[in-house]
Structures are given as structure tokens and as C-alpha cells.
């Protein structure tokens, strides 16, 4: 499904952040990526999405055999990639619902499907909002505009639910969430997840993984995945930190 091979990327001043990432994600899998601050976790998500601040120095990222790195940013999304960043961008003035509808119709156009109409979208959106226990205020607001950290994260998962991606890369989706919001968001992700899809979670804490059971846990440090294991690895990291791992 998603195949990342020897991915290297740097920022504008030439500093290399990703130094050869290898990751194979198959349908139905949940991968958790953990690691100390500054290890390259957020960079990985942005490089895969095509953020212009990063330069790919080498390697490949394939989704169902298609090289994402050769695609435009919107094509990557429409091919089935969804990236939720740690700090979702606020866009005052762009209505949340209009944005969601535009994004969905862009994907449908890419897939050769007809546009979804207003009424049909309204029902579809309501259903997804109920799943995430979101109230009507989200409809009227600008994209992430004036939302708390938790509200933004919930809004990100709403987008994920509506766009129905094959692979979702969720960067610290649990940050800024209180206990109830964490449960709601995690339930939402589990509901969206299916045997045909995959999720990559970036997190610092076991608490999210109590709700979303990972298939694999990886440790990213200094731009490389230095250790991979099962769910028990996350528990060990929670107890002992990262210092015991030899690179």
C-alpha cells in the first residue's frame, strides 16, 4: 500500500532531516511512530505530503505502486493520502463546510465521479459530525478559525472521515485533547479505519494507543527509524524513554 524507501530530505539551508526512512505499510495496519522531539516525525509527514519547505534528496514514496513524490500536492491527496499536521492551519474567511465540500468534490472530480450536491453533502457531513460529536458551530466557522487545539484536531478527523483516504498520517492528533475528546477522536479514527485502509500515528504517549491498537511501533531518531516492534514497544518506551535504544 504505502512503501517508503530510503527517503532523505532536507530543509532550505541544506540541513538533512530525514536520513533514509524505510517503512512498509499494508492495508489494515496501524503504525505508530514515536521518538524524541526533533527526530523528524513531523518532517516525514510533510515531505510525503509535498510541503514546499522541504527538498527530497533521495528515495521514493509509493502509494499503491504510484510514486507520490512525482505528483502535485493535490494529486497526492486525491490518490488517497491524508496528512494531519501537528498544528492545523487557520484559514479565517474560508467556511469550514464549503471547504470540506470543495475538497470532497475535488477528489470526486479526480476519480471521475460527479459532484456531490448540497443536500447530499449536508446529510453526509452531518453523519460524520455526529460520529465525532461535533456541534453545528463547526459549520459556520472558518477553517480551524479560532478553534481550540482540541477542536482543531477533531476538525482534522472530520476531514479524514469525509475524504475517506487510503492512508492517513496523523501527526500528534492526541496533543491538546482532554480525556473525553481523546476518546471521541480515537473512536472516530477506529470507525473510519477498515481492512482496506491504513493509519500512521505519530504520538509521544501510550494513551492514544490504548484506544487505537497499533500493529507496529517504530522509533524515529535523528532522521532514521532505528527500532521497530509490536505494541509492547510503546509500553516499554513509556516506561523507560529512549535512552536505552542503541542506534
Amino acid at each position: 500500500m504505502l512503501s517508503i524507501k530510503d527517503l532523505k530530505a532536507s530543509i532550505e539551508d541544506g540541513t538533512q532531516i530525514l536520513k533514509g526512512i524505510n517503512l512498509e505499510v499494508k492495508p489494515g495496519e496501524v503504525h505508530a511512530i514515536m521518538g524524541p522531539n526533533g527526530s523528524g516525525k513531523s518532517t516525514l509527514s510533510k515531505v510525503i505530503a509535498g510541503h514546499p519547505a522541504y527538498k527530497v534528496d533521495g528515495g521514493s514514496v509509493e502509494l499503491d505502486g504510484k510514486n507520490l513524490l512525482e505528483m502535485e500536492i493535490n494529486e497526492r491527496a486525491n490518490s488517497g493520502l491524508f496528512i494531519s499536521t501537528q498544528y492545523p492551519t487557520e484559514i479565517p474567511g474560508v467556511n469550514n463546510v464549503e471547504f470540506l465540500k470543495m475538497a470532497l468534490n475535488s477528489k470526486r472530480a479526480y476519480l471521475g465521479l460527479p459532484e456531490i450536491g448540497d443536500e447530499e453533502f449536508k446529510k453526509f457531513c452531518e453523519e460524520k459530525m455526529q460520529l465525532l460529536e461535533m456541534d453545528e458551530r463547526y459549520r459556520e466557522r472558518g477553517v480551524n478559525d479560532g478553534m481550540s487545539g482540541g477542536e482543531k484536531k477533531r476538525n482534522e478527523i472530520l476531514q479524514m472521515a469525509i475524504l475517506d483516504p487510503k492512508v492517513s498520517f496523523l501527526d500528534e492528533t492526541d496533543s491538546g485533547l482532554d480525556i473525553d475528546a481523546l476518546r471521541i477522536v480515537a473512536n472516530g479514527i477506529n470507525h473510519i479505519m477498515s481492512p482496506e485502509k491504513a493509519v500512521i500515528l505519530v504520538t509521544h504517549y501510550q494513551r492514544l494507543l490504548d484506544y487505537i491498537k497499533p500493529t507496529y511501533v517504530h522509533v524515529l531518531r535523528h532522521g532514521k527509524i532505528i527500532l521497530s516492534g509490536g505494541p509492547e514497544l510503546a509500553l516499554k518506551l513509556e516506561e523507560q524513554g529512549y535512552d536505552w535504544i542503541e542506534e
Binding site: A49, G50, H51, P52, E72, I73, N74, R76, A77, N78, I83, P88, T89, I91, P92, G93, V94, F99, M102, A103, S106, K107, Y110, G142, V143, Q159, L163
Partner: protein, 337 residues
């Protein structure tokens, strides 16, 4: 003193005149030339003009309609009236005098005149009575007039409110000039302007707001979306008088340059003669926000569509703070097309 005599005194606009610093003055036909002067001098006066004294008027654009013998339309809106009106000038040169009574609620849309001549100039003298609430707005379709002047002189009594909003999309050269006098305590003036310019369009705004009474408020927000070789300028002066305590005044100009050749000039001038006031000014110039673009595109929206969404959001935000009145509805409708 009549307008013709005053124009002859002050002469044609020059770039070294601070009212015309950014304006392409060479594009203004010389009304003081033999031909122009003759037409001006021989023009019959209409009665309304005879009673006006222009000896202290320094802005050429304010004088031009009257020097060109504009017809004067006088309208009095009675005390306490609730009125919606549309104003439209049928000639190249127009003069409107509005006397708005105490406590009146007025919504006034200014429509374009349909003439397509070399130069069009309009002047509006608006007196706003105590406690009146007035909105003045225009959002006309893109005009191809080569040169257009619109001058407003607004005087406000105590506790009156004026909201002045416009969308400017001219493809020629345009200038909005405004002299607003907040004469009564508690008066407030709100100016919102959005310029969406392309090609060689050139749009200039020159405002002078005089706080002549305590507890008066003025806000100015001008936003520019400039493409091609378009040029916009904003010259905003705020004057706070000596005994005018607790004045609050803010001026903000935001510009997004969508091409390398587009440009903007901004000149804030604050003349404050009292200590206990709050006056701010700001100016931002940039491109569309790269992070916002990335966010939209990363959700599958094509780059051009994302750009349009961001431009529309920048434009609409200009008018979101307005109350839910016909002006807001009309301005936002115009931007939704």
C-alpha cells in the same frame, strides 16, 4: 469663492502636492489650459453652487465637478426617518448634497453613472445629524472609465455613526477622496475599502479624518488584491484636536501582491494634539499565505481553486465586521459572484 476661481488659485494637481503624492497627475486633462479654462469660465452657474464657498478647499477633485458645472442634487432626510436610497449621477460631473436629520437611519448605495467619457468626477457633501446611523456603500461592476474622481465631504454631529464601504474594481485610473469631520462627541466613522485590480489599473484613496470632539472613533481598513501591473495607494490622515480626549482611531492597510509588477504605496499621517487618545496604524504587504495554500491543496483542492478561495476569504473579511444591513449583504453578494 466659487470652484473655478479656487482651481485657478491652487492650480492643477502636482506630485509635490501632498494630496496627490502617488497619483499619476500627468493623466489629468488640464482644465486650466486655454480650451479647458474657456469651457469652465463660460459655464453657467447653477444656484446651489453660488451659495458654496470653496476658498478653503484644497483638493482639486473636490472642486472639479463644480467647476465643470455639475448639476447639484439636494436631498434632505427628515429627523427620525428610516430610508434606503440609491444615488446615480447621469452626467460626467455630479454633485450631491445630503442633509440627514437627527436620529435618522439611512442606507445609501451609490451607483455608477453610465457615461463613458474621458473623465468623470462626482462630489458628495453629506451632513449627518445627531444620533443618526448612516451606511454609504458602492460595489459597482468593473468600470472601464479612463479617469474617475469621487470626493466625499462628511460632517458628523454627536453620537452619529457613518459606515462607508466600497469595492473598487475599475480598470482605469480612479481616486476616492474623503474629508470627514467628527464634530460631535461620540461620533464614529468606519471606512472599509477593498480594491481588486488587474492589468494597468491604478486606484488611489486619500482620506482626512478630523476628530474635532472628544470620545470620537474612526476606523479605516483598506485591503488590496493586486495583479498584473496594478497600482494602489492609500494616503490616510487622522487629525485629533487639542481638547479631544478619549479619541480612538485605527488605520490598517493589507495588500496581497499577486504578481511581480503589482505595487502599492501607503502613507499614514497622524497629527495628534492631545495625550489621552488611542491611535494606531498598520500596513502589511505580502503574497497569499503559503501555509494556508499548502493546507488547502493538501486536501486535494487544485492550486488555482485554492488561490481563489484564499483571495475570496481575504476580500470577504474586509466586510465581515459590518452589522447585518443591506450594505453588508450587497458587498458580500458582489464577492460571491
Amino acid at each position: 469663492m466659487d470652484a473655478v476661481t479656487r482651481i485657478q488659485q491652487i492650480g492643477m494637481p502636482r506630485r509635490n502636492n501632498e494630496l496627490w503624492t502617488f497619483f499619476p497627475v500627468a493623466k489629468i486633462p488640464n482644465v486650466l489650459s486655454a480650451d479647458g479654462d474657456c469651457r469652465v469660465a463660460n459655464a453657467p452657474r447653477n444656484d446651489k453652487q453660488e451659495s458654496l464657498d470653496f476658498s478653503k478647499e484644497n483638493d482639486f477633485a473636490a472642486l472639479l465637478p463644480l467647476a465643470k458645472n455639475a448639476r447639484t442634487m439636494v436631498k434632505a432626510i427628515p429627523e427620525g426617518a428610516n430610508e434606503m436610497a440609491m444615488l446615480k449621477c447621469n452626467d460626467d460631473f455630479g454633485h450631491t448634497v445630503l442633509d440627514i436629520g437627527k436620529g435618522a437611519h439611512v442606507s445609501l448605495e451609490i451607483l455608477d453613472n453610465k457615461v463613458q467619457h474621458e473623465i468623470v468626477a462626482e462630489r458628495f457633501d453629506i451632513s449627518v445629524g445627531e444620533g443618526a446611523d448612516v451606511e454609504i456603500f458602492f460595489a459597482n461592476p468593473a468600470s472601464a472609465l479612463p479617469l474617475r474622481f469621487r470626493h466625499f465631504r462628511i460632517t458628523q454631529a454627536a453620537n452619529s455613526t457613518v459606515r462607508f464601504s466600497n469595492i473598487l474594481t475599475d480598470s482605469g485610473i480612479g481616486r476616492i477622496s474623503m474629508d470627514c469631520d467628527l464634530n460631535g462627541e461620540g461620533a464614529s466613522f468606519d471606512y472599509r475599502s477593498l480594491s481588486i485590480l488587474d492589468n494597468t489599473a491604478s486606484m488611489h484613496q486619500r482620506l482626512t479624518i478630523r476628530h474635532n470632539a472628544p470620545n470620537t472613533v474612526s476606523t479605516q481598513l483598506a485591503r488590496n488584491l493586486l495583479s498584473g501591473s496594478a497600482y494602489a495607494s492609500y494616503d490616510g490622515m487622522v487629525i485629533v484636536g487639542e481638547k479631544c480626549t478619549k479619541v480612538n482611531s485605527g488605520q490598517l492597510v493589507n495588500t496581497i501582491l499577486l504578481s511581480e509588477n503589482a505595487s502599492v504605496s501607503v502613507k499614514p499621517v497622524l497629527k495628534i494634539y492631545h495625550d489621552d487618545v488611542e491611535c494606531t496604524h498598520g500596513n502589511t504587504v505580502g503574497e497569499l499565505d503559503a501555509e494556508q495554500m499548502f493546507y488547502l491543496v493538501s486536501r486535494g483542492i487544485p492550486k488555482e481553486a485554492a488561490k481563489k478561495m484564499l483571495m475570496a476569504s481575504f476580500a470577504k473579511e474586509t466586510f465581515y465586521p459590518l452589522p447585518e444591513t443591506p450594505a453588508k449583504k450587497r458587498l458580500l453578494q458582489t464577492l460571491s459572484v
